[in-house]
Amino acid sequence: MREYFNNIWLGLTTVFIGMNVTFKHLFKPAVTIQYPDVKLLLPERERNRLYVNMDDCIGCDQCARACPVSCISIETVKSLPTDDLGKTSNGKKKALWLTKFDIDIAKCCYCQLCVFPCPTECIYMTDVFEFSEYKRENLLYSFVTLTPDEIAEKKNNFEKAEAEKSAQKAAAAAKKAEEQAAPKENKPSAEKPEDKKE
């Protein structure tokens, strides 16, 4: 019997306590950020869309190797000694033409592992998060600054130079064939010029 009335009492009082809490909140200002009108100031370390500053990129491929999901693909062509690619902002000399620098942002897992190894700090995460798309293909970002024609030209140049070089090398190798067992026998026409300079 005691329990019976205790139940009634507890039931009513706890309901009123709860109602009191919600009633108080009815008049508290909302915490909502009205997104398209008001935008939150994002912290400086914010990790969102990747951006590559191609002016600084030396094509070292470190980011692609650090990426756990392999969403960065880089292809480079060696420049000719005559080409001047300029320097990066922290004084490194560029020696490679970037013919492909694609980031499949749809695969990216925003872990920032690619940012740390970059020697020139040219790849970094920005605070841009508004980049949804109607088509998935649009999420494949290409950062290459060269036009396709230029890329073809650079490749061509490199192949020519390589051919010359290998011809020279072959000649040199023929000279000291007894010492060195063909240090580089790769056929430049068949091989994709994928250099992994560190």
């Binding site: 309901v15 709860g18 109602m19 919600t22 909140h25 508290k28 200002p29 915490v31 909502t32 009205q34």
Partner: protein
């Protein structure tokens, strides 16, 4: 009375009755539902430190309009396994059941759909139609969730009818009438004439009534809450258990009908509580129309007060909904059979004793 006015205007009783029957629907229920759905979202949002609909019109006032228009565009799915005839009839029955209750509700001194003497009793009885509709919907969908939801719903609604009726009998014992119009007229004057304050009786008896009236009010409020399946009694459509209960399989306009019926029901029960305990359409302070001498203004004021009281109780329903967890089905039954009914019984006996003394 608007009916008499319409009768004069059209000259045909059927036409007058028809127009009158449309009035609550278009003048009241549809606007009310539009407002109430928005209100529900706004109230819940502000209780949860949110804002609620903001983007459709100023502070989202057209949100419900958009919802209805969208629901009209939605495909209507009738699954292969369902009992198609019953599936289609169910929403009609549910809406009819809840709308019929409005026939006997006095919105103001000048408007009551049907001034039958059985008023209160009729409302309780006709809400049985809703149960039939719900059972039909649950059964016809041929879905386990809907069936369980419908079963629970039926068990719940019929169980909670008993405490409701018992409290109504308590009122009838004091006032001797079931007619809601008469009941409202009895409570005229100021708010101390309301039934919750002992009604029109005077003296010591009036004071003695007050605690029992309050108990009666709490009981009827809880049980009407259960009858319209609102939290904490929303187990039939318990989202986290039975997906969305008996209307899981309904889409598009038929679902909208269930939705509309639910909100209509919410107001109907609030109106009953207001009419029985809080003076119906009577103003708590006397009428502006009286003091200004504009007699035609009084019904409008009355309508305002009635709506105000109704919406107030609807708001309390929402308040409860966004505060409380829901009960389990056996606890719900236990609450009804072990707590509400015995207390209502005792209450009835005591009130009867006071009246005869």
């Amino acid at each position: 009375m608007i009916y008499d006015f319409l009768l004069k205007l059209t000259g045909s009783e059927i036409a007058a009755g028809f127009i009158q029957s449309l009035l609550p629907l278009f003048v009241f229920i549809l606007p009310f539902a539009l407002i109430a759905v928005l209100l529900e979202r706004k109230v819940s949002a502000h209780m949860q430190d949110r804002l609620g609909p903001m983007r459709v019109g100023y502070h989202g006032i057209f949100q419900t309009v958009a919802d209805i228009l969208k629901l009209m565009q939605k495909e209507d799915i009738v699954t292969d396994n369902s009992d198609k005839a019953l599936f289609n009839i169910a929403p009609v029955l549910v809406f009819t059941g809840s709308y019929a209750a409005f026939a006997a509700i006095p919105f103001s001194g000048a408007f009551i759909g049907s001034n039958i003497d059985l008023g209160l009793f009729f409302i309780v009885a006709v809400s049985g139609l809703v149960v039939a509709g719900i059972l039909m919907a649950g059964w016809a969908s041929n879905n386990k969730y809907t069936l369980l939801g419908a079963m629970r719903s039926a068990a719940q609604v019929i169980s909670y009818e008993i405490p409701t009726i018992l409290v109504i009998i308590t009122i009838v014992m004091i006032t001797g009438t079931l007619n809601l119009y008469t009941l409202s007229e009895l409570q005229t004057g100021h708010f101390w004439n309301w039934m919750i304050f002992g009604g029109p009786s005077t003296g010591l008896i009036k004071v003695a009534f007050i605690p029992f009236m309050i108990i009666g009010f709490v009981i009827i409020y809880i049980s009407t809450l259960a009858e319209v399946n609102r939290t904490p009694f929303d187990i039939p459509e318990a989202e986290s258990e039975l997906v969305s209960g008996y209307h899981t399989e309904y889409s598009g306009m038929k679902f909208a009908m269930f939705f509309l019926a639910e909100y209509a029901n919410m107001f109907a029960v609030s109106a009953i509580v207001a009419a029985v305990f809080f003076g119906g359409y009577q103003s708590p302070f006397g009428y502006l129309g009286n003091s200004l001498g504009i007699s035609w203004f009084i019904p409008i004021e009355q309508f305002f007060w009635f709506t105000f009281k109704g919406i107030f109780f609807v708001l309390v329903q929402m308040w409860l909904r966004w505060t409380l967890p829901r009960l389990r089905v056996d606890q719900l039954m236990a609450l009804c059979w072990k707590y509400l009914i015995p207390i209502a019984f005792v209450n009835l006996l005591i009130v009867g004793l006071i009246t005869v003394l």
